[in-house]
Every structure is written in C-alpha cells, then in structure tokens.
C-alpha cells in the first residue's frame, strides 16, 4: 500500500476514535472546536519538540576534521614518494 494511503487510513481511524471520544465526553457542544484547536497545536508543538531535541542532540565530530587532515597529509606523502603529482588543494 502506498504510504499516502497508509497515512490517510491512519487519519480516518484517529478521526473515528476522536469523534467517539467527543460523543462520550462531557464538554458542551459549543466548546468542542476548542478541543480540535488544542489537539492540532499540541501536534505542532510535538513536531517542533522533536526537531528541537534532535537539534540539541545532533551528533558532531570536530575531531574528525583533524583526523582527516592527518590522513590527507599521509596520503599526499605516500603518493609524492611514488612520483604521483596530485598538486595542491
């Protein structure tokens, strides 16, 4: 099944559950639209939270740049010995 269909069917199931919950709830009719707003806003906040947490925990590797420079120097030396002129960066 294409992913868009999977997502849509998930949406349908969630909507059905949502409507079921609303009908069983005690909140007066006039305020249900507020509930929808809260739900969507909290979804948005959750998304932003995921992005924010991921950003904070973004793995970095500054030591790798140094190691790479060493590797490059080693490689250039070897190739120069063998007579390969690879020029400069």
């Amino acid at each position: 099944m294409k992913n868009v269909l999977k997502l849509l069917s998930l949406l349908v199931v969630i909507s059905a559950l949502w409507i079921g919950l609303l009908q069983a709830s005690i909140i007066p009719q006039s305020h249900t639209w507020l509930l929808h707003i809260y739900f969507i806003v909290s979804l948005g906040c959750y998304g932003l939270l995921m992005v924010g947490v991921g950003l904070m925990r973004f793995p970095t590797c500054p030591q790798e740049a140094l190691l790479l420079q060493q590797d490059i120097a080693e490689a250039k030396d070897f190739l120069k010995q063998k007579g390969d002129d690879v020029g400069s960066d």
Binding site: K2, N3, V4, K6, L7, G47, M50, V51, G54, L55, F58, P59, T60, C61, P62, E64, A65, L68, D71, I72, E74, A75, K76, F78, L79, K82, D84, V86, G87, S88, D89
Partner: protein, 239 residues
C-alpha cells in the same frame, strides 16, 4: 556466505576531483588490506585532469584494481551508478562520494555488519551516536533535522539517515532497486532506500562521520527545499 569469496566493487562518481580521487584511492587501499575489491571511477569528463590522475593510479595499483569508466559529460548520479554497475565484477557494491566526506575507514564496518547480519543493504547514518557531522552551522543542522523529522513522519522509511549516499548493497539488490528509481540528486538516494525498504530488503545501519569540506559552496537555498518537499510528496504517493 563464504567470506573469503566476496568481492566488493566500489563505485566512485567523480567530477573535478583531481586531488581527492588520489587520496581516496590511497585510503581505500589502506583500510581494506585483506579484502578483494575493485574501485570503479565513473568520471563525467572532468576538465581538471581527474582521468589522468586515475591513469597514474592505475599504474601504481593495477588496472584490475582501479577501473576507469568515464562518460562524456555530467550525466547525473543515478546514471553514474548504473554505468558503474555494468562494469562491476563483485557480488557487493559500495557507493560513496569522492570528496572525502565519506571516509574509507568505515568500509570495514560496513563489510563486518553485512557479514554479521546477512543484510542486503548496509547504509551509513550520520545521525546516531557514534556518527556525526562536522562543518555544518546551526541553520544547516536545523534544516537537516527538520527535513528528517518530516521525512520520518511521512514516509516511515525504517532508516535514520535518508539522504546519505555511503552505502553497501548486494549487487543483485542494487540492480533491482535502481531500475525502479527515477528521481535526481539526493531525492534519488532517498528513493533508493525507501523503495528497498518497501520491497522488504534487510537493511542495516552503521554510524559514520561526515566531514563537509565543501559547505559554503553548496548552498541549501529555497529551490533545494522545494525540490526536497516535492520529492517527499512524490515518494509518499508512489511508495
């Protein structure tokens, strides 16, 4: 599978990588002393003399270890892989970038992971502990993270790094997946891994570090973002 009989074809598409290709070849030989492999350089008619350097490397390392299979001009990454595949004699194929953002020192961990798990695809991920990125500013990291969250939500891909292009494939699996992919650029990389995931391929990940030395010359502008979003929608609908 008898480990002694595996051969790894490493496809490296190049364009103006006169210096980097020599460095990468040296590093591959350094880190794979015990493996049977070949390096297939698919050069798209580089004007900077990349092919001359490759020919010198062939004299140094042997024409059976370094294959130069050039094309007349820049024809795109997907077709470069297909072109390289035609000349690959190994039963495994590694794809990697030529600009040293992918370090050959991770090749043994790809191979090891595949032997341990029997996976059809081993993909490098920059986004887990043990992996990482260097050379990205805050904005770039933010875009990357946002793009990743969006892609995870919409596509459920089963891998943590969708746009990475440092991967090991079983040759038959790569041939099968690549024939059904039509996108270009990094969306192509996404399409490959998502299609493979949908087909039920056994995919494993290994952490890799990514040192971006060209950042600054490859801007992530509005048009890239639009392309990415279009790619996401396309993949959502067709996979």
């Amino acid at each position: 599978m008898d480990a002694a009989k595996n051969k790894y074809s490493i496809i490296v598409p190049t364009y103006n990588e006169r210096l980097n290709i020599a460095l990468i070849v040296y590093l591959i030989f350094k880190h794979l002393p015990d493996e049977d492999f070949e390096i297939i350089v698919v050069d798209d008619g580089s004007p900077d003399g990349t092919q001359e350097i490759v020919k010198q490397l062939q004299k140094l390392y042997g024409e059976d270890r370094i294959l130069l299979r050039p094309r007349a001009k820049k024809l795109g990454l997907g077709t470069a892989y297909i072109h390289g595949l035609k000349h690959a004699s190994g039963n495994f194929v590694v794809i990697m970038d030529a600009d040293l953002s992918h370090h050959p020192k991770y090749l043994p961990s790809f191979i090891q992971k595949q032997l341990e798990t029997g996976a059809s695809i081993v993909t490098g991920t920059r986004y887990v502990t043990g992996g990482g990125v260097h050379g990205w500013n805050l904005m770039r990291k933010l875009t990357s993270r946002g793009a990743n969250v969006l892609a995870q939500t919409l596509l459920w891909p089963g891998v943590s790094d969708l746009t990475g292009s440092f991967r090991l494939y079983k040759k038959s699996v790569l041939e099968d997946v690549i024939s059904s992919c039509v996108s270009k650029g990094y969306v192509f990389q996404m399409e490959m891994i998502v299609r493979a995931s949908r087909k039920g391929c056994h995919i494993e990940e290994v952490p890799i570090t990514f040192v971006d030395r060209v950042f600054g010359s490859s801007k992530l502008g509005g048009s890239e973002i639009v392309e990415y979003l279009k790619g996401l929608v396309y993949l959502m609908i067709t996979t």
